[in-house]
Structure formats: structure tokens, C-alpha cells
Symmetry: C2
DNA sequence: CAGTATCCCCCCTGATACTG
DNA sequence: CAGTATCAGGGGGGATACTG
């Protein structure tokens, strides 16, 4: 097996998601997109990523339907990358990563960016696991039901 | 974990989180841990990962305080990897990945595993973005407030 | 500005063999 | 069972030069 093993066909949506955006750069690029970045050079400057890598990632993510390449919104001659609905669906993953990072990767007093509600400036609430009827749930109360599949 | 270009010090918790668990295997290992897998060989069989890779990942994640290595709970002579509180905090990230994967990576009718509430068997509810007072929020109503940092 | 092309290093990854 | 040691290779990744 020359190529990296794919977990696409394991029947687990987590594995399939990681097959698409599980590399190191993709979610950082997407995070920047949520922050309003849309142009190639903007991404490059923000991330410090090599041009070749950035081009490959943007191409891959566009092929996956996460970005779409359209005319620039400012009327300039250039084009820009914008998130599709599928790409915008990744927002909660970014938020979950952010909240975990805030909780466990910063020493008390260490500064970091925060996600706030634009209208009020108040912090966005924590994501919570809930049951089908809205009641709070602990992870221990859940289980993965496997489906018989090939 | 040595990285070619580290984004640890950018002041963004998302970047810092990805520095820790942003590689392709880590979250799959952690997903398996949430499914009850605790032993080296169980991980290896479940993931189809090379032993060397698995050993390196488990070592790194243990050093990061995500796993801890303790005596086997079944009283056998072997040891087992269990998630720390920090590791268990990653559950929402897994759930977010799962929900996105279910939404966008499966064709209608294609089978996949699902996360259910153990007591009732009903599907776990969707994660939702909410404001500080519990009101629903769209990502467009949020923004990242950057902090002046080194 | 927005990439493409190229070079090159070395890490990641996988496979196998070996050990306590 | 639970790793460690070792090896081979491919491609991730960075840097630079070049182009439309």
C-alpha cells in the first residue's frame, strides 16, 4: 500500500469528515475564511503558508465543494474564494476546536482571541450536547450505533 | 510534536488546538477511545494503523495530557490508555465532525453509524450556536475579537 | 495579484522484524 | 499482548523563480 490508508469507507461520518478536512492546513484556511479572508494573497499572508501548499489546498477544498471561486465582491478584476453552504457548515467544528483550545491550552492570564456576538460584544455561549428533546446530555449517556454495511 | 511551521503562538485557540490534535490520526484514535477502546492492539485492529504510527501518536497524546496510561480495568497484567478530562473535552469536536459528515458527505440512503442516547436509543440532538444568554445565533452574527499579543 | 513550476529536504507513513 | 527498531518511499512542506 503505497498511499496513505483512507478511512472513507468505514461507515463512520467522523472518519469521512477527517478524510476531507483532517489535514493540518485545511481548517486553518477555513477559519480564516470565516474571518472574512477571501483572496489568495490574504490567505498566504495570514497563514504564512507556502504558495504551493495554499494553491493545492484551495484547489482540493474547492473540488470538495467547500469553497467556490467567484468574481471579487469589490468589483476588482480578481477572483475570490468564498465558503459554500457546505463550507459554512464547518463553523461549529471551528467553534468546538476554539472552545477546547481555550479550556485546555492556555495558561491563566495568557491572551487569545475570542468569539463574540457582534451586536453586543458578549461571548458566544458554549456548545452543549443535548438529546433529541433538548435535554442536556453527558457523553457517557451516548453510544455509537453501528450500521451493518460493506 | 515538532511541526514544520507551528501556529501555536498566533493567539488563536483554533490554531493551538490544531497544533495538538490537527493531524490525521489523532482524532480517529480519540474517537475510538470514546467508543470504549483502550488497548494498543484494539486501536491497531480498529484503525488499520501501522504500529509505529500508533505508538508515536499515543505517546504524543499522552504527553499532551489527553490520554493517561494506567493499569487495565479488567485486572489483567496489561495497561490501558484512557482519556483524561482534557481528552474527554474533545467529545464535542468529534460530534461536530460527525454531524457535518452526516450532513454533507453521505448520499441519501447511504449507511453510516449514528450517535444515540443510550437510554432511549434516540438520536443525539444537533449542536447549536448560542449567545451568552442562550439565544440562537448564526455565524454571521459573530466575530473574532483579536487580542494584542506577542 | 494570483498563482504555477521547480528544487529539495525530511517527516510521515507503512511494512516487516524483533523483543520483553 | 504491547510495543520498539529499522528501513524504504512518497509526498508534505518550504523557498524561490517565473508567468499571465
Amino acid at each position: 500500500m503505497v498511499k496513505r490508508t483512507s478511512v472513507w469507507d468505514t461507515g463512520c461520518p467522523v472518519a469521512r469528515a477527517l478524510d476531507v478536512i483532517g489535514d493540518w492546513w485545511s481548517l486553518l484556511i477555513i477559519r480564516d475564511a470565516f474571518d472574512g479572508i477571501r483572496r489568495f494573497t490574504e490567505f498566504q499572508n495570514s497563514l504564512g503558508i507556502a504558495k504551493g501548499m495554499l494553491a493545492a489546498r484551495l484547489k482540493g477544498l474547492t473540488e470538495q465543494g467547500i469553497f467556490e471561486l467567484g468574481p471579487a465582491s469589490d468589483g476588482s478584476a480578481y477572483r475570490e474564494y468564498s465558503l459554500t453552504e457546505k463550507g459554512r457548515g464547518l463553523f461549529l467544528i471551528i467553534v468546538a476546536l476554539r472552545q477546547w483550545g481555550e479550556d485546555y491550552l492556555y495558561a491563566p492570564g495568557e491572551l487569545h482571541s475570542v468569539l463574540v456576538e457582534r451586536s453586543s460584544g458578549s461571548l458566544v455561549g458554549r456548545l452543549e450536547l443535548r438529546g433529541g428533546h433538548g435535554h442536556p446530555l453527558d457523553w457517557r449517556q451516548t453510544e455509537v450505533r453501528k450500521i451493518a454495511n460493506a
